[in-house]
């Protein structure tokens, strides 16, 4: 019998630019980057210097706080440059790829016949371990801990999100291999979550040793924290690991071939994309390889990820480690005369204070304007409408601002990260930076409680 959980609160933002289900091969990127900034809570310690030769899977840096966690190169080539920011913070390690791809060799074999330690070791050495993240805190999982269960959200409800069913088609075997490896990591369940609204790919439905749960409803029904909250909520001391279908396949490839195969499929989305298709590319590749000559005129914002939680990477930026989506939308750096007083037939809003409510079903071209100034919390009940969790978001945020550790813990910091509360930020009348505050709270918790 299908287990269906209905999510009522939430919001599907009506924005233009969904990707067509056509798979293209992206042009070879001229540069690749490994970005320590993709990972929360780590401190990178470099293992290479400019001019060094690396293979796909060679260690580029490791985490100073946990030296077992390696970060490896997605391609074979020469280290071109190390880009640093303020206070010499490492931002990007740029790699110029060779024509010939050479791979580091890792252990190859059936994960079911391997021990937990062997599997973890293989994942750590190959640099695939960072694919597995943990809740609380949405940081890279600690290999010396054991989760009570593992979650793999197999559908994405974020705006213009890629269709995982399309991405994983035909990868049944590799997906199962990846799952087999994961089953060794936990004594608990491997939870797959699906959307009951359409028939899911048999890659998911026919997967073995997994528990499938269906989530029906608007975004954030597909967000992992919301799913955990409804299936197996996190209490103090609990740990849950999570990753996404493409990551499972990457892990499957590791055990199947013994190499780090960084290829992944991304959806190129957003109103400013000429041909919004799916592209086969690689982690860390420069997005101009697929976005160049494929976007409209004007000042644009290139986002690795979706419009709610993605990262602004610029025209010459690189695909993030975890992302399966690139979004291109117009920048909104312009003044609008009496903009707040206009009827607003073209202004998307969840409140019906603009006359765009007269156009139900219309999808909008949205830009990055803030549409107002930062204010104190004034309106109430807004966040609750888009957060399907038993959590008081405003009280949690205020506790974080006040740095009241006890309150932060009591109000449910273990259950949330940026993505669960991203919609709260979207709807906020006072333009409060909800996601930054939540991350600040998480960092505070890690600092204070370890």
């Amino acid at each position: 019998m299908q287990k269906i959980i209905k999510i009522k609160k939430g919001l599907d933002i009506r924005i233009i630019g969904k990707a067509e289900k056509v798979l293209k091969k992206a042009a070879q990127s001229c540069l690749y980057a490994v970005k320590p900034t993709n990972f929360h809570g780590i401190e990178p310690k470099l293992c290479i210097k400019p001019g060094d030769f690396v293979k796909a899977g060679s260690v580029v840096f490791y985490n100073k706080h946990n030296p077992r966690i390696f970060f490896t190169s997605p391609v074979c080539g020469i280290i071109k440059e190390i880009v640093r920011g303020e206070r010499r913070k490492i931002l990007e390690i740029i790699i110029k790829p060779d024509e010939q791809q050479q791979y580091e060799r890792f252990v190859q074999g059936d994960p079911l016949k391997m021990t937990r330690e062997e599997i973890i070791d293989n994942l750590l050495k190959s640099g695939l371990w960072p694919l597995i993240r943990q809740r609380p805190y949405a940081i890279i999982a600690n290999p010396s801990s054991e989760p009570k269960s593992v979650f793999i959200p197999c559908f994405d409800t974020a705006p213009l999100a890629p269709d995982y069913d399309f991405i994983v088609q035909g990868e049944n075997k590799l997906f199962q291999t990846g799952i087999n490896a994961l089953t060794k990591l936990t004594k608990g369940k491997i939870n797959l979550t699906l959307n009951p609204d359409y028939p899911a790919s048999d890659v998911f439905t026919k997967a073995k040793s997994v528990e499938i749960t269906y989530f029906k409803g608007p975004h954030p029904a597909g967000v992992v924290g919301v799913q955990i909250h409804h299936i197996d909520p996190i209490n103090k001391g609990d740990i849950i690991w999570y990753l996404y279908p493409q990551d499972v396949i990457t892990i499957g490839k590791l055990f199947d071939k013994g190499t780090f195969d960084a290829s992944r499929i991304v959806a190129l989305t957003g109103s400013e994309v000429e041909k919004p298709f799916y592209y086969k590319t690689m982690t860390g590749s420069m997005i101009s390889a697929i976005a160049e000559n494929n976007v409209k005129q004007g000042e644009l914002r290139y986002i690795s990820g979706n419009i709610l939680t993605g990262t602004n990477i610029g025209k010459q930026g690189y695909l993030g480690f975890y992302d399966s989506q690139i979004t291109v939308i117009p920048e909104g750096k312009k003044y609008e005369f009496f903009g707040w007083a206009l009827p607003g037939f073209n202004k998307y809003s969840t409140s019906r204070s603009f006359f765009s409510w007269l156009r139900p079903g219309k999808i909008f071209r949205m830009n990055t304007n803030l549409h107002g100034g930062n204010r104190a919390f004034v309106m109430t009940g807004e966040y609750e409408k888009v957060l399907p969790m038993d959590i008081f978001p405003v009280h949690l945020l205020k506790a974080i601002i006040a740095e009241d550790i006890d309150k932060i813990e009591q109000l449910g910091i273990y259950e949330v990260a940026e993505e669960e509360l991203a919609l709260c930020e979207f709807v906020c009348t006072s333009k409060i930076e909800v996601q930054s505050i939540i991350r600040k709270g998480i960092e505070l918790m890690i600092k204070e409680l370890g």
């Binding site: 419009i307 009496f338 803030l370 309106m379 449910g412 906020c428 009348t429």
Partner: protein, 388 residues
């Protein structure tokens, strides 16, 4: 419009850091952002934001208040001419009321905004939009004859002691508009109660008043036990009664309520529960019915005095009301309950709504505290039961 924009861009550097008029930056910002939505783009977190902002929200509330304001203007004139016995047409009534009410609105805005700007200036904050609504609410809960200097004094008092001392919009505990009214009520009771103040022209005298004309509001009549003089319920519904400028017509208030609810700006939870609380208290009085006041049909309390206006526009102030959804029901219900209780049991304060809302404003954080504690207990319980 390009010329204006160019002018502003030219002036802007003077108000930025290092500029000559840097100290006036928040005034400049307020004016600029009033004229233009700023060109600020998202820098962290969500790349796209909802179009709503506080200016829009506040302007929706003002639009929702317009029916009450316009009706109030006409009604002020209508009752004035009824008192003097002159038969005049609709526009004459409206014009009289317009001339009476508009100065009050202007004084309220000018005095309140002046305080707001000064505080924003001193604190180096942007000017908050909260006062745009307060400035409109204050005139609507006052009698039309109120001297303008009183309006100014009470507004300044309310903005400073009702809001700014707590840290400005979003931080205040008491509803600023009701604080202004309460200030007037206790400081100048002669201008805020009795049967002379609610019809323009009655108090100052000088004009000929028709013999036997009573300017008492339904609440005033009820408070002194004059139930025979009470207007019929349909007059109280349409607003054909004397009273504070904006509170008489329940139909105008209903239109406002619908605007607030439909746009999602006002809280339906609070409005409904205030009315429910009022009804329940009315019914309790009906059951005991030891005096005539208690015998008034419970639903008629909705139509008397400022109950409806308070429920729709005052109790729903998001900053001073309870903030959790469960809390809103409790807060609203108790507000309604207390409003009718004060009104019926204490004839010294015929307008119970104002005091009930102010009292519940004070208790709202406590209500929220318990709702949040319940959430925390649920989470703790889950952890414990899992642990076994």
């Amino acid at each position: 419009m390009k010329i204006l924009r160019r002018k502003i861009d030219k002036l802007k550097p003077h108000f930025e850091k290092g500029g000559r008029f840097y100290i006036f930056r928040s005034t400049f910002e307020a004016i600029e952002s009033f004229l233009y939505i700023p060109d600020k783009v998202t820098s962290a977190g969500c790349h796209v934001r909802d179009n709503i902002d506080l200016k829009r929200t506040m302007s929706v509330v003002i639009i929702a208040l317009l029916p009450s304001l316009l009706f109030g203007m006409w009604n002020t004139g209508a009752w004035h001419y009824r008192a003097t016995g002159e038969a005049v047409n609709f526009w004459c009534c409206f014009w009289f009321g317009f001339n009476k009410v508009l100065p009050i609105v202007i004084v309220s805005y000018l005095s309140g905004l002046a305080v707001e700007f000064i505080f924003a200036q001193v604190r180096g904050h942007e000017v908050n939009e909260g006062f745009l609504v307060t400035g409109m609410l204050i005139p609507l809960v006052l009698p039309a004859d109120i001297p303008l200097w009183m309006v100014a004094v009470s507004t300044i008092f309310a903005v400073i002691f009702g809001k700014e001392v707590f840290g400005g919009t979003g931080m205040n505990i008491l509803n600023p508009a009701l604080t202004a009214r309460a200030f007037l009520f206790f400081a100048y009771p002669a201008w805020m109660s009795g049967d002379k103040v609610w019809v323009a022209g009655l108090k100052q005298g000088g004009e000929k008043i028709v013999d036997g004309f009573s300017g008492a509001t339904p609440l005033g009549e009820a408070a002194i036990g004059n139930f025979n003089n009470m207007p019929c319920w349909c007059d109280m519904l349409t607003g054909n009664i004397p009273g504070a400028i904006g509170e008489t017509s329940k139909i105008a208030i209903l239109i406002g309520a619908l605007i607030l609810i439909y746009t999602g700006v006002g809280s339906l939870r609070i409005m409904l529960s205030v009315f429910a609380g009022g009804l329940v208290m009315g019914l309790i009085f009906n059951i005991f019915a030891v005096n005539d006041y208690m015998r008034i049909p419970a639903w008629q309390h909705w139509l008397m005095g400022g109950f409806a206006f308070g429920a729709v526009f005052m109790a729903t102030d998001p900053v001073t009301a309870a903030q959790t959804n469960t809390g809103k029901y409790i807060y609203g219900f108790l507000t309604g309950l207390l409003a009718i209780m004060f009104r019926v049991l204490n004839p010294a304060y015929p307008e119970g709504v104002m005091l009930a809302i102010l009292l519940m404003n004070v208790f709202a954080p406590l209500i929220d505290y318990y709702v949040v504690q319940a959430n925390i207990r649920r989470r703790m319980k889950r952890a414990v039961s899992k642990g076994h």
